[in-house]
Symmetry: C2
Subunit: 412 residues, 2 copies
Amino acid sequence: MDIEKANAEATERMMGAQPVLVGLRKALDVVPGMRENLLLHAGPPITWERASGPMRGAITGALIFEGKAEDEAGARALVESGEIELEPCHEHQAVGPMAGVICPSMSVYVLENKTHGNKAYSNLNEGYGKVLRYGAYSQEVIDKLRWMEDVMAPALADAIEASEGLDIRALLSESLHMGDEGHNRNKAGSILYTTKLAPFIVKVADADVASEILRFLGDNALSVLNPVMGACKAMVDAAHGVEGSTIVTVMARNGTDFGIRVSGLGDRWFTAPVATPQGLYFPGFEAEDASGDIGDSTIMETAGIGGFAMATAPAIVNFVSGTPEDAMNATLEMYEITYAEHTHFTIPVLDFRGTPTGIDVRKVVEKNLTPRINTGIAHKDPGVGQVGAGLVRPPMQMFEEALGAFADKYGY
Amino acid sequence: MDIEKANAEATERMMGAQPVLVGLRKALDVVPGMRENLLLHAGPPITWERASGPMRGAITGALIFEGKAEDEAGARALVESGEIELEPCHEHQAVGPMAGVICPSMSVYVLENKTHGNKAYSNLNEGYGKVLRYGAYSQEVIDKLRWMEDVMAPALADAIEASEGLDIRALLSESLHMGDEGHNRNKAGSILYTTKLAPFIVKVADADVASEILRFLGDNALSVLNPVMGACKAMVDAAHGVEGSTIVTVMARNGTDFGIRVSGLGDRWFTAPVATPQGLYFPGFEAEDASGDIGDSTIMETAGIGGFAMATAPAIVNFVSGTPEDAMNATLEMYEITYAEHTHFTIPVLDFRGTPTGIDVRKVVEKNLTPRINTGIAHKDPGVGQVGAGLVRPPMQMFEEALGAFADKYGY
């Protein structure tokens, strides 16, 4: 068995995937396996008992949003009784930032990989402040979700349809030349996204609603985060399932466990307890307020952007800590553990070198070097929200276990 | 007389100026000294006889737009007879890109420096292809100007008023962290501009018109070029007229002559023949098609951005030629001839160092080092348009003459 050949194929598929945003639909109607009593969540599988504060908060909020619970105790009862089931987004072709909770009546972006035909899904971005994805679930949070679902989503759905699709890989290629790394900094991408949809939004909504939507999308430097996550999911899914490949196709955290999947090792999760991110805290918060690492947004690093593309986003250090030199070094270091250099995502300051793409489990273990990840930091208690942003690395143990499993399966 | 103190004052005024886009009005109604038979143009004073091809083309187009001429011969007759007069934009608190022709019935952006109270003006940007500013004047060019004036301008004027003003210095601070250098690359700035105005545009225009305007602004990576030029003009005007200052407050070209003005030397122009930019040409064109250096957009470099901020815009080399390392070196070199480092415009990759700001005539001459300029390249014949983009330097002779005049006036 030729691992090199398998990894070349996996990374070529990952980079050759062309995810286009083709729609926005109710999760229940489009997400494979979605059902009335199911909540999807970030990371590998989790139970209520082992769930982190922000994950419990987001589950509670989603069940309030669905009209199925009134508070945390009610949510807990539904989940612990099995009446409401929890499954990872990743097991349903979906991804969600932070807690990543997607419930049946939420709208999700539909990304279609035009090269290989697979689809992926992600929810709408709520912006900053008190938001469900960071575990907040006050009335203010639910009201915003309601407005997003009832007012914004129908117009956005019509606008996306009228646009005949937005090529998110092309948008990312552009935004990476505009100081974004695509994970914690999506400022350029979000206004590119807003600008591209604006001519359609004004035609499908009345003036006041269109104005409100354009302000919401334009003021939120994370508007495009979720479509980008969906696009990255479509890319890595295209690279999954290549026999004999040691390329990582999923990295995701639920606040308790970090989990990875490997292209040549099927749907098995390799998990280990999450670390706590190191970074900069918002005024009034400090390191001891932080939840463990959480979210599916590590799909970015899995696809060769985010922490791997920090060299192209030196201004991000104001948000995640460190210096522009650290940012450059983060990218240079990631070439050590990746198989390819991206053919569509390039870094001008490195003479347009492609971003380090396709984490190779062998290299991670052999060089004793784990991936670098940029991330938001949630409060450890349910109901609070974001407290900062920073940097984190996944536990080495998962990669060692995956390599062991690879050896067992393939005799490597 | 203390030159250092004067230069400190001039550069502090330049950097302390806070230009806000407060309106869009007919030039005749707001530009000081504008009159029915006047055309403003880029650079120092020029006659028809000495005017370059693109300047003649733009004058012709403006007079067709005003309904005063039908062709180049008609335009020439009006200008040579003195019936139509030509004066520099810079002598009317205005600036225009490339030929920079502003006629009485064109709308101009109104920039107000909130710190010192002075105002500055610039026209609307036409986008790419066949455009007046590059000397094209076919029916297609005039039709687009008509749409801009009759359809877009009224809506934009209402939207700017409803916005209560856009702080262009703040927008530039942001776009310089998004891969723009503010002169030849205004991609981020233009979508920031579009995104900020969009919520207002949809409220003041009907849906079809709003959609058309949003597409026009959003697809044009130079939408914000003219408001930024106006903002830079407001900044450098605030630094002009400081007794004993050797800081350059105007650099401008009309396609034939380059002209500069110096803070401590009043309104006198120091001029010399322009060079021809070196750069990359569009398919089908080559160096011998190029007009001499033209445009008021060197106001950017005068204010500390553009070629001076290239280190923050490495992706620009795909457009103007060179390598990311050249771009970095351009900025580093400009620290040699400037007095200050900008307090609002910073370069992340240089550890957020301020851009080199305030060209000091003494340093230019003493170090035998002229400013670096990014620029578009026009075809040398009237009626053709843009043929490329590149780099150019102003003639040293002007700086030497200015230093001589400074010595004469101040005994330096």
